[in-house]
């Protein structure tokens, strides 16, 4: 497979007054051409920090990339000075953010902001770049694009702004689009439209998408592969079917249990995951999920589980997959369901 981005054992820390927060603790993943990788996890699990550190967007200091490698088309992208990083930022990797309302410069027209990328990276003239910006807005289905390009962000709705953000990130035909919770700030009908647009553009541009989200419904709709993050680590990764039908980590199971369903078991009450994530000022020695895990064993608190391959595409970091671990009924039930 054609791997575009490869991240290995990435570690990111933040020095704060309260001490050092180990926000990302050894994250690895690959992104191949044309696929969508979803990174899922609750707030504070390090999913945003992971992609922002790849893009060189975390403020340093207090942030610091303390370990690991990341290569984009074979070239290192970590800890580059701005001049070097700007050879791939906005060119090979485009990025969109959570809140489109505040992600665009309020004193520049939409068209100028999109054109700016083309002027800087492609050396286009003002007129050329603006014309291309209008075309990009048309590609993201913004009606009356020539007129809208001359307007300012405050004249756009949230959904339209996110379309403009997408148009801007596509300006240089990037190989990867990083979408950091792109629909969280939008209402549900607009969410669906934005996701649809991203899928459409992915097909026409043959680009990869890294989708950061905490919404499992969005994952099911968009992703080819999924990485579930917890306490700064990827605790389970696999294809979207692996994650939803053959969940192999108690946390993934817990997330699914906590999700409302409208098909069956409607009378069943939701079962939330009790407790809260570990304090990353003092990361646990063992498994991060141990304190909340219903199947926790003695070893879980003492030793960090290594990633165990469940199938060729599927991995989980859990001691339950050790050959001497007891069988857990729930894990098998799900596998049976899937088989049946």
């Amino acid at each position: 497979m054609d791997t575009i981005l490869s991240v290995k054992d990435l570690e990111v820390e933040f020095a704060t007054y309260g001490g050092t927060v180990k926000a990302v603790r050894g994250v690895s993943f690959d992104v191949t051409r044309g696929e969508t990788l979803a990174i899922v996890g609750e707030s504070g699990c390090g999913k945003s920090v992971t992609v922002q550190s790849l893009m060189g967007l975390i403020p340093m200091p207090p942030g610091k990339i303390t370990g690991g490698t990341a290569t984009l088309n074979g070239k290192n992208i970590l800890n580059l000075p701005p001049a070097e990083a700007n050879k791939f930022r906005g060119v090979e990797v485009g990025m969109i953010f959570q809140d489109p309302m505040s992600s665009l410069n309020p004193t520049m027209t939409i068209g100028d902001q999109i054109a700016e990328t083309l002027k800087v990276h492609r050396g286009k003239s003002d007129q050329e770049a603006f014309k291309l910006a209008v075309e990009l807005l048309e590609r993201t289905h913004i009606p009356e694009a020539p007129k809208r390009a001359k307007q300012y962000p405050f004249e756009f709705s949230g959904g339209m702004l996110q379309r403009a953000m997408i148009a801007q990130s596509l300006a240089c035909n990037p190989a990867i689009l990083i979408a950091d919770e792109p629909t969280t700030a939008l209402d549900v009908t607009i969410q669906a439209q934005i996701l649809e647009l991203m899928l459409e553009l992915q097909r026409t541009e043959n680009m990869s998408i890294i989708l950061i989200t905490h919404d499992l419904a969005v994952v099911a709709r968009m992703a080819d592969r999924v990485a579930v993050m917890y306490a700064g680590q990827v605790i389970e990764s696999g294809t979207v079917d692996d994650i939803f039908y053959r969940s192999s980590h108690p946390y993934t199971l817990g997330l699914k249990e906590a999700m409302p369903s409208n098909t069956h078991d409607r009378d069943k009450s939701l079962s939330p995951i009790l407790g809260s994530p570990p304090d990353l000022f003092k990361p646990p020695v063992g498994c991060g999920y141990c304190a909340r895990c219903p199947y926790a064993m003695t070893i879980c608190a003492e030793h960090l589980p290594t990633a165990t391959a469940i199938s060729e595409s599927h991995e989980a970091r859990c001691w339950l997959h050790h050959r001497t671990a007891p069988d857990i009924e729930e894990l098998h039930q799900l596998e049976d369901q899937d088989a049946g």
């Binding site: 893009m55 967007l57 701005p82 001049a83 700007n86 930022r89 992600s103 700016e116």
Partner: protein, 310 residues
């Protein structure tokens, strides 16, 4: 935009009328009048003078005469300076104050934006600490101290070269204007530096700066195209009143540097209860302030599209 401008102008006229009325009332409440100044005048001369200046009429009538004259652009004749019309005083001396004030504002604004941006970039590092210390000095030390220090500096400079490089006082050439305008602008510069610094620090954390970095723009481009323009908005807002404050409040600096500006006449007139000069200069200054605020508001519309279009 046109409606916006017209609205502002109309409000401005009302404000000026209000200033004129308030000054008129306040002045007539003060005990004494310009005729009982130094030497005693006999009752007949006094009656003649009162008739000449219209002071024998009832106050309301005086008010309407004053308003009428003002509308036709005539502020009358000074009581204390022989046969000198207030319009002439303003015409002769205001341009000097205005040039001095505008130069001072120019120093203050460029300096404030520059130092403010610089301190924000070097936040909590040595340049920031040094500049912010100087800023506190600039805000708390009164301008006559700086004026004296400035003169001392010029005296030393000139004696170092053995000839007059930059004149210590007086008015006439651009060299005369340099030191007084810097001294006059210093306090405002300090104020604007603080404002610019906090505004820059706010903008740096905005999401659109992150977007700009994710777009692969150089730090210089982000600074000039994305941060500066957004951070400068609060500075522009206070610029209007500051222009007026500097232009009208420069009489201390004018006195120290022996500059024949309008400020001196204003202060003199108040001391001598020179009705017409007080009225003329106050209304004129008031109108000037209002005009500056309006100009800044319109300027603001050009920089911030949200103001322009709503």
């Amino acid at each position: 935009m046109l409606v916006y401008t017209l609205k502002r102008l109309f409000a401005g006229v009302i404000t000026v009328w209000f200033i004129a009325t308030a000054t008129f009332i306040a002045m007539h409440q003060v005990p004494g009048d310009p005729l009982m100044n130094d030497k005693a005048v006999s009752a007949e001369i006094r009656a003649n003078l009162e008739a000449k200046y219209g002071l024998d009429k009832p106050v309301t009538e005086q008010y309407f005469i004053f308003l009428g004259n003002m509308l036709s652009g005539d502020f009358g004749i000074s009581f204390t300076q022989q046969n000198r019309r207030v319009n002439d005083i303003i015409r002769d001396h205001f341009p000097i104050s205005a040039i001095l004030g505008l130069l001072a504002i120019f120093f203050a604004a460029t300096g404030g934006v520059l130092w403010g941006a610089l301190t924000a970039i070097y936040r909590n590092r040595l340049p920031d600490i040094v500049i912010m210390f100087l800023v506190i000095l600039g805000i708390s030390v009164p301008s006559f101290v700086f004026a004296a220090l400035g003169q001392l500096f010029l005296v030393n400079l000139n004696s170092l070269f053995g000839q007059s490089i930059i004149p210590v006082a007086g008015w006439g050439t651009i060299w005369h204007m340099l030191m007084p305008s810097m001294v006059l602008g210093l306090g405002t510069m300090a104020l604007l530096t603080r404002l610019m610094r906090s505004s820059m620090l706010e903008v740096v954390n905005e999401d659109y700066i992150k977007t700009a970095r994710a777009k692969g723009l150089s730090p210089t481009r982000i600074f000039f195209r994305h941060q500066l323009r957004n951070a400068i908005l609060p500075v522009i807002t206070v610029l209007g009143p500051q222009i007026a404050a500097i232009t009208t409040g420069g009489f201390v600096v004018e006195l120290v540097f022996a500059i024949p500006g309008l400020g001196r006449y204003f202060v003199q007139a108040v001391q001598q209860l020179d009705y017409t000069v007080i009225m003329g200069t106050t209304v004129f200054y008031g109108a000037f302030l209002v005009l500056m605020v309006i100009i800044v508001d319109i300027l603001y519309g050009f920089i911030d599209p949200r103001v322009r279009l709503s």
